[in-house]
């Protein structure tokens, strides 16, 4: 029946969307049994999260520093340098931390997940599991997916903290903004809603990035070129989806 459908780009997209939805459904059904093996999930949180810490911390530091520099330049024109802490915190918590962390996650952990699963597929490891009556969705896909979903908010939190530190470093230490104003204005202006917005975004991005990475790896053509293409697709699809979802979520929170 499907062979009769024209192979237009639109048809292919809809078909792929359906395949991803079916894959997600099957994987979510295996998440329960996977949770019974916490060691597998902890290992994946370590792989996806702890191993991304250096790049996340470095990026957070520089993003915070740039943000403070630009913010100071802008606010100085209106004589509102004291609001630098608020501006930096809101920009980081609501927008930059979740988005940049997710983009870095897609590039660092997402590609790693895709290529790892793709190579497992190419070397018959997934087939071997099936032959041992072990569902690879339970043993391979679900723990990696859950590990990514859990790691993303943690990495986002680290990014925000280091980013604020970088903002303070430039704003207070370098540009001479009053330390008390920087922190007190931030404290009075940033509410729980702003933090929740960032957390929700990071969870949604973690879900999307991990799903794409695991799906692409699981369905990679079992060749060197196939795994390479799947890895590229992971980065491209994740990046576009992160920005699209960011707009949708921002619109929902405003």
């Amino acid at each position: 029946m499907s062979a009769a459908l024209p192979d237009a780009p639109m048809t292919r997209s809809v078909r792929k969307l359906g395949a991803v939805a079916v894959f997600l459904y099957r994987m979510l059904r295996q998440c329960g049994p996977a949770l019974a093996r916490p060691t597998l999930i902890v290992n994946q949180i370590y792989n996806a999260g702890a191993r991304s810490l250096v790049i996340i911390m470095l990026s957070g530091l520089f993003v915070g520093m740039v943000l403070a520099l630009q913010g100071f330049d802008l606010l100085q024109r209106f004589g509102s340098e004291e609001a630098l802490g608020t501006a930096t915190a809101l920009a980081l918590l609501k927008e930059l931390s979740p988005v940049i962390t997710a983009l870095l996650f897609a590039g660092r952990a997402g590609t790693s997940l895709t290529s790892e699963i793709g190579l497992m597929c190419a070397t018959d490891q997934l087939t071997a599991m099936k032959m041992m009556a072990v569902d690879p969705l339970r043993y391979v896909a679900a723990p990696r997916f859950l590990g990514g979903v859990i790691a993303m908010p943690l990495l986002t939190a680290v990014f925000s903290i280091i980013g604020l530190f970088g903002g303070q470093l430039v704003g207070v230490q370098l540009m001479g903004v009053d330390r008390g104003s920087f922190w007190s204005q931030m404290q009075s202006s940033v509410g729980l809603k702003d933090v929740v917005e960032g957390v929700v975004k990071s969870v949604v991005f973690g879900f999307a990035c991990s799903l794409i990475a695991v799906y692409e790896g699981y369905h990679a053509e079992p060749t060197a070129a196939g795994v390479g293409l799947a890895t590229t697709r992971t980065v491209v699809a994740s990046s576009v989806l992160i920005l699209l979802l960011d707009y949708v979520l921002t619109a929902c929170f405003i």
Partner: protein, 300 residues
Amino acid sequence: MRPPWKLRQPDGALRGYGVTGADQPAGAAAAARDEVLIDVRGVGYAIDGHDVFDGLDLSVRRGRITGIMGPSGTGKTTLLRLITAQIAPDRGQVRVWGRDLATLRSGEVFAMRKRMGMLFQNGALLTDLDVFENVAFPLREHTDLPEPLLRTLVLTKLQAVGLRGAAELAPAELSGGMARRVALARAIVMDPEVLIYDEPFVGLDPISRGMIVRLIRQMNEALGITSIVVSHDVPELAMIAHDSYLLSGGRVVAAGSPQELRDSSLAVVRQFMQGSAEGPVPFHYPAPDYTQALLSVEDP
């Protein structure tokens, strides 16, 4: 109350470790040996419109070593995928233990696979586990064996393949032959009733090759395991196989004991058994005239 390390089989019977066909009464064992375990009837299968099988018929009897031979590209590995329900035939029927694989649900397929072991061409060891854990993997997934018993079982299987000393090595530290032997230990750790070998002799040194040949024969004789060996290594297969099938052109072109195949007057059988380039199976892939291709300035 059944011991936790026993598996419940799909037919409801309990089967503990070490309980095999060899333990059955002599008469029952003899009768069981004639039983057809795997029956492939009129199977057709195509990949991208190209027929791999067209009316394939063969059967595997319990407790015997069945060799599947044939030139490269004749679908030997595809046949194994059909038998293990990794793919479904376009037409025809594959029956395993009397059940049509097309009628099995996912859970039933997994239950069937617990009774099978498969040795992959490249070993297919799990790269994030060491040798010991690779062999222990099926036991950890399907049983609640106490750790000392699990350890004993794993070490027993590793000893059988001569790699007890390599238990702590990572798969990346193993040679191709060693990886194949670890994979064999993993394939037999659940005491399967059927063992499937996909090209078990490829790339092995003579010592490992001889050892694999002996292991296949020993497991068949001592444990009564039904074995299916896909290979194009005629001498090795002739040493161990009770029944042989030669595949070519999508169907079985000859069947019988290795001796019967050797004595066959069919051109395709003689060409394969003697390893001759001349015969009905072309060595060269279809191509334009050789001289013209060499003299032509265009791309081949």
